[in-house]
C-alpha cells in the first residue's frame, strides 16, 4: 500500500494527511469465487496488507494458523473472514458480509458473498452496489461452470468492471502458458457480457504475489498489480453525464414559506435556473434553489442528497420524479424486465405483488414469464414459475403508471424489488430492460349506460359476494339458498361455482399454484363484468390463497364486495365428503388438494364468518342474508 496506518510525524503533516483522508474516493467491489478458489484468503490478505489487523487479533491469528496452510507470514488469512461456516450450519441467513479497508488513495468496501446454495441471490445482492468485481479462478482448475455463472450474474446486475484473478499461480509453477490459456478462454466467453474493462492478473493471495508489488516469480507478467489497480481504476461511471433525475423522497415543509423536495440525485446534474419536469404530470418548473445545511449550492450532481426548491407551485409528492425536460424517462404501466427470484415462495404470474422502484411503491403483477435463463449454461427455456435463485425474463404490469429508465441507461431509475403483500418479504429483484407502450394506448371504453342506470332498472345493488372455505364446507349450499331467496324476491342473482367454471371457462387450467392464481383472476374478472351488468354475483370458490382473494377485491374496484368465510373445520368437511374427494386425496389420487396436500390460508379479516361446524346451511344462509341484504331495501352502487 503503504497503508493509512502510517502515523504522520508532525502537525503540518497531520493536517495534510487529514486533508487527503477527506478527499479519498470510494470503490465498492465484490469478490466471486467458491471457498476453494481462495476468496477468503484474498480478502484476508487485503485486510492484512492494509494493516487493519490489530495486534490482539494478529496474535490469536498466528496461534490458530498452526497446522494450516500458511504463506510467508505464517498466517492463514482465510481465518480473518471465515467464521461464517458455523452460522451457515445454524441456518442463519448470510447473504453478504461487508468488509472495509483503505489505502492512502482510496477507501474500499468489499461485499463478501458466501454460500453455495443461495449463490445467485447472494451475488446479485452483493453486486447491486458494486462498481467492480474480482472473479477468482484457481489456476489449476481454470474456467469452471461457476465462473460463467458468476460472470453472467455480474452482467445481469450491470457490474461494468471486472478483474479476473488467476489465483494460486504458484501451484502451477508460475506458468505463463497456463495463465494465457485461462485469460484467452475467459475473454472469449465474456465478449457478450458488456464489461467495460477486463484485466487478468496472475496472483497468489497466500504468498502475496502481484498483490502489492510485481512478483519476481512472474517476470513475464507486465500488467498491473491488484491493489495498485484497485486504487486507480476510474469507475466514476458516467452517472453524471446521464439525463438529470431526482426521485422525490420527502417533501420538506418546515413552515408555510418553504416547500422543498428532498432526494438523492439519481443521475445527471442540476443547476439553479434549470428547467425541469415532473415525470408523471409533465408539469414544468424551474429550479430556484438547491438547499443544504452547509448553504445553498449552485449545482448538484449524481449521488448528492439535496433539497430542491422550485420557482412555482406544482403538485409534487413522494414518488414523483423531477427530470430533465429534454430527456424524460418512460412513464408507463408495463415493462419488460429480468428478475432474480430470492424467496422460497415461487414467482407466480398473475399474483399481485408490491413493486418498489426508487421512491415509487405500487401493486404489480408478472403478466408473462417469457423464459427462464439457466445461470450455468445461459440457455433459455419456457417456465411457468421461478424458484429461488432462478433468473427469468418477464413482463410486469403495475396498477399505476411508473416513471422509469432502462437499467443499462440508469441503474437508479431501472432497478426494483418485489414485495409479498402478506408477509412483506422481499421476494425478488429486477432490472428494467425496456418499457412497453401497449398499455398506454389501451384505455377503457366509456359508455352512456352505466352501472347506476342498470341498478336503477333492476332495483337492486349490484355486488359480489365471495365465498371462501374448504371443499365440503357448505359454500355452494349456502350460495344456492341465498340465490333462491333473491330470485323469489325478484332480484337477479347468479352463482359462479368453482366446479362449473372449471368445466368451461377454466377447463385449460390445472391445480398448480400458478393455475390456481389464473383461475381466480379470471373468475374475479367475470364477477366484475356481471356485477357491472347489474347482477348480484355469488362466487363460490375454495380460493385458498389470501393474495388471490385480495386480487379479487381489487379487481372489483368500486363494486361492493363481501368476503364470506365459511369456517367449517377440516374434520367436519372430511366426514361429509359429498364428492368423495377427501378420500381420494388421502389415498394420494388427487394432488394439491386444499386442506390435505395444499394449504388453505384462512382470511384474517373477512367481512362475514359463517360457522359451518356449528350451524346448518339454512341458519347460515339466514345469517348471511340479514348481514348483506336486509338493509338493502333501496339500491345504491
Amino acid at each position: 500500500m503503504p497503508a493509512s496506518a502510517v502515523s504522520p510525524a508532525d502537525t503540518a503533516a497531520l493536517e495534510q494527511w487529514l486533508a487527503e483522508q477527506k478527499h479519498k474516493s470510494l470503490l465498492r467491489f465484490l469478490t466471486c469465487g467458491s471457498v476453494d478458489d481462495g476468496k477468503s484468503t484474498l480478502i484476508g490478505r487485503l485486510l492484512y496488507d492494509s494493516q487493519l489487523i490489530l495486534d490482539d487479533q494478529l496474535a490469536s491469528l498466528r496461534r490458530e494458523s498452526r497446522n494450516r496452510a500458511t504463506g510467508n507470514e505464517g498466517i492463514d488469512f482465510s481465518l480473518l473472514v471465515d467464521g461464517l461456516a458455523a452460522e451457515r450450519e445454524q441456518g442463519i441467513t448470510i447473504d453478504v458480509a461487508y468488509r472495509f479497508f483503505s489505502t492512502d488513495k482510496r477507501k474500499f468496501i468489499v461485499a463478501d458473498t458466501p454460500g453455495h446454495e443461495q449463490y445467485t441471490r447472494n451475488m446479485a445482492t452483493g453486486a447491486s452496489n458494486a462498481d467492480l468485481a474480482i472473479v477468482l479462478v484457481d489456476a489449476r482448475k481454470g474456467i469452471l461452470t461457476q465462473t460463467r455463472r458468476h460472470s453472467f450474474i455480474l452482467s445481469l446486475i450491470g457490474v461494468r468492471h471486472v478483474v479476473l484473478a488467476v489465483n494460486k499461480i504458484d501451484l502451477v509453477g508460475h506458468d505463463e502458458a497456463v495463465f494465457d490459456a485461462i485469460e484467452t478462454e475467459y475473454r472469449a466467453f465474456a465478449r457478450d457480457l458488456g464489461f467495460e474493462t477486463l484485466v487478468a492478473i496472475p496472483l497468489s493471495a497466500l504468498n502475496g504475489d502481484n498483490i502489492l508489488q510485481p512478483s519476481p516469480a512472474t517476470p513475464w507478467y507486465t500488467g498491473p498489480q491488484l491493489v495498485p489497480y484497485l486504487e486507480t481504476i476510474e469507475v466514476a461511471t458516467d452517472r453524471t453525464s446521464r439525463p438529470f433525475r431526482l426521485p422525490v423522497q420527502w417533501v420538506n415543509r418546515p413552515d408555510l414559506d418553504f416547500r422543498g423536495f428532498s432526494g438523492t440525485v439519481g443521475s445527471g446534474i442540476v443547476k439553479v435556473g434549470d428547467d425541469v419536469l415532473v415525470a408523471g404530470s409533465r408539469l414544468p418548473a424551474r429550479v430556484s434553489r438547491i438547499v443544504t445545511m452547509d448553504g445553498d449550492l449552485p449545482q448538484a450532481v449524481a449521488g448528492q442528497a439535496v433539497t430542491v426548491v422550485l420557482d412555482r407551485q406544482v403538485d409534487v409528492s413522494r414518488g414523483d420524479m423531477l427530470v430533465h425536460p429534454g430527456a424524460v424517462p418512460d412513464y408507463s404501466n408495463q415493462f419488460q424486465a429480468r428478475l432474480v427470484w430470492m424467496n422460497e415462495e415461487h414467482a407466480i404470474p398473475g399474483r399481485s405483488y408490491l413493486l418498489k422502484l426508487g421512491t415509487q411503491l405500487v401493486p404489480a403483477t408478472i403478466t408473462a414469464l417469457k423464459f427462464r435463463t439457466n445461470v450455468n449454461t445461459l440457455e433459455e427455456s419456457a417456465a411457468k414459475t421461478l424458484e429461488m435463485n432462478e433468473v427469468g425474463t418477464v413482463t410486469i404490469a403495475t396498477d399505476k403508471p411508473l416513471a422509469f429508465d432502462a437499467y443499462r441507461d440508469n441503474a437508479a431509475g431501472g432497478s426494483f424489488i418485489l414485495i409479498d403483500r402478506i408477509s412483506n418479504a422481499t421476494l425478488g429483484a429486477g432490472v428494467v430492460d425496456f418499457g412497453l407502450r401497449r398499455a398506454q394506448n389501451l384505455s377503457y371504453q366509456s359508455f352512456d349506460v352505466n352501472r347506476q342506470v342498470r341498478a336503477e332498472l333492476l332495483g337492486q345493488t349490484p355486488q359480489i359476494v365471495w365465498f371462501t372455505g374448504l371443499s365440503g364446507s357448505g359454500k355452494s349450499t349456502v350460495a344456492n339458498l341465498i340465490e333462491r331467496r333473491l330470485i323469489a324476491e325478484r332480484r337477479l342473482a347468479y352463482i359462479l361455482d368453482g366446479d362449473n367454471v372449471r368445466h368451461g371457462l377454466n377447463k385449460d387450467l390445472g391445480f398448480t399454484d400458478g393455475a390456481r392464481v389464473e383461475n381466480i383472476r379470471r373468475v374475479a374478472e367475470v364477477a366484475r363484468l356481471m356485477a357491472d351488468a347489474g347482477l348480484i354475483v355469488l362466487v363460490s370458490f375454495i380460493s385458498p390463497f389470501r393474495n388471490e382473494r385480495r386480487l379479487a377485491r381489487e379487481v372489483a374496484g368500486d363494486i361492493r364486495f363481501t368476503e364470506v368465510y365459511v369456517d367449517t373445520p377440516l374434520a367436519v368437511c372430511e366426514s361429509r365428503d359429498p364428492k368423495g374427494l377427501y378420500a381420494k386425496a388421502r389415498r394420494g389420487e388427487i394432488k394439491n388438494f386444499t386442506g390435505i396436500s395444499s394449504p388453505y390460508e384462512a382470511p384474517e379479516h373477512p367481512d362475514v364468518i359463517l360457522h359451518g361446524g356449528l350451524h346448518d346451511p339454512v341458519r347460515m344462509a339466514e345469517d348471511l342474508y340479514t348481514r348483506i341484504f336486509d338493509w338493502d331495501a333501496g339500491y345504491s352502487i
Partner: protein, 306 residues
C-alpha cells in the same frame, strides 16, 4: 461537505454522508412513529449531525431517545441536555423504573445482569411504550464480526427480536420498509462507516463531542488492568484503593463504572486520530460487556440490544 461545485467525483466521506441522509429521509417518509437512539457518544454525535442535515431547514421530524441507566458519566448528561437545547430536537429520556426501584447497579449485579436490566430491558420498555415502528441506531458494520452482515434496515418481530434466519435481502438503495402490525425496524445509517471515517468526519465537519474523548487529568482506579474513572461518590472503592489522577481519555462512552479509560496525551482531534492510527487494539476492548461471555454481541442483538 456538499460544496461540490467542481463536478468532480464525490469523495468517500461525501458518498457516505449522502447515503446516510438518504436513509434518514426514507425512514421519515416510510414510518409512522420513528425514533432515534441517542447515546451521546461520537457515533451518536455524527448521527445527530446527519439527521439535522437530512431534514434541513426542517427540524428533525422525530424524537431522540436516551436510555439513561443513571450510571452515565455526569458530563454525558450535561452534554446531552446542551445538544437538545442548541439544536431544538425533542429529547426523550427513559430509565427502567423497576431497575431503579430495585437499585440495580453495576457493582452488586455484575455487568451482564446490570446491562440486561438497565439497558436491554429499558430499551424494550421504551420502544414498546412509544409504539415506535422504526428505531434508528448508530451501529457500524466494522465494529465487530457479527455486525458485518447486518442489514441497514433490520427487521424485528413483534417481540423486538432479531430473527437472523428471516432477514430481507437488501439491493441497491431500495429499502423494504413494510411491516406487519406490531413489528418494527432497526435502521443503521452508519452501517458503512468505519471508526476512522467517523473521526475524520467529526474533524472535517467540526462536530461537537463530549470532552471525555480528549485526554485530561481524571481520577481513576485500576482494576484487572482496566482504568476506571471515579466519576461520583457512588463508586465503591476497595478498602486499600484510592483514586489516582492520571491523564486519560475514553475511546467509547457508556456507564462510567464499566468503561475503561486509556492512558493518553491526545487532547485534541488530530492527536486522537493520530493515536488511533498508531494504536493496534480493537475499539470495543474498552467496553467490559463484550468480555463477559463469548459471542455476546450476537446474543444481545437477538434480545434487542443495539
Amino acid at each position: 461537505m456538499s460544496n461540490n461545485a467542481a463536478g468532480r467525483p464525490l469523495s468517500h466521506l461525501e458518498t457516505l454522508e449522502a447515503e446516510s441522509i438518504e436513509i434518514f429521509r426514507e425512514v421519515a417518509a416510510s414510518f409512522e412513529r420513528p425514533v432515534m437512539m441517542y447515546s451521546i457518544g461520537k457515533d451518536s454525535s455524527v448521527l445527530l449531525h446527519l439527521a439535522r442535515k437530512a431534514f434541513f431547514p426542517s427540524r428533525i421530524p422525530f424524537p431522540l431517545l436516551h436510555i439513561d441507566t443513571t450510571w452515565k458519566f455526569r458530563e454525558m448528561i450535561a452534554f446531552r441536555d446542551r445538544m437538545a437545547a442548541t439544536h431544538g430536537f425533542e429529547l426523550l429520556v427513559h430509565t427502567n423504573p423497576e431497575g431503579l426501584a430495585a437499585r440495580i447497579n453495576p457493582f452488586d449485579q455484575g455487568s451482564a445482569r446490570y446491562t440486561d436490566i438497565m439497558k436491554t430491558q429499558a430499551l424494550r420498555q421504551a420502544l414498546g411504550a412509544g409504539r415506535y415502528d422504526a428505531a434508528i441506531g448508530g451501529a457500524r458494520r466494522d465494529e465487530e464480526k457479527s455486525r458485518a452482515k447486518e442489514r441497514i434496515f433490520s427487521h424485528r418481530n413483534a417481540q423486538h427480536a432479531w430473527d437472523p434466519k428471516n432477514q430481507r435481502p437488501e439491493l441497491w438503495h431500495i429499502y423494504n420498509t413494510r411491516l406487519a402490525p406490531g413489528e418494527s425496524m432497526r435502521v443503521f445509517p452508519l452501517s458503512n462507516w468505519t471508526e476512522l471515517d467517523i473521526w475524520t468526519y467529526i474533524y472535517s465537519e467540526g462536530i461537537d463531542i463530549p470532552s471525555l474523548y480528549f485526554a485530561r487529568p481524571r481520577p481513576v482506579v485500576e482494576r484487572s488492568g482496566t482504568l476506571i474513572m471515579v466519576d461520583d461518590d457512588r463508586f465503591r472503592l476497595e478498602p486499600d484503593e484510592a483514586p489516582q489522577v492520571q491523564t486519560v481519555r475514553f475511546r467509547t462512552l457508556g456507564c462510567y463504572p464499566l468503561t475503561g479509560a486509556i492512558r493518553s496525551d491526545a487532547a485534541d482531534l488530530p492527536s486522537i486520530i493520530m493515536e488511533m492510527q498508531a494504536s493496534r487494539t480493537s475499539e470495543r476492548e474498552g467496553r467490559l460487556i463484550d468480555s463477559d461471555q463469548a459471542g455476546s454481541m450476537e446474543k444481545k442483538k437477538q434480545e434487542g440490544y443495539f
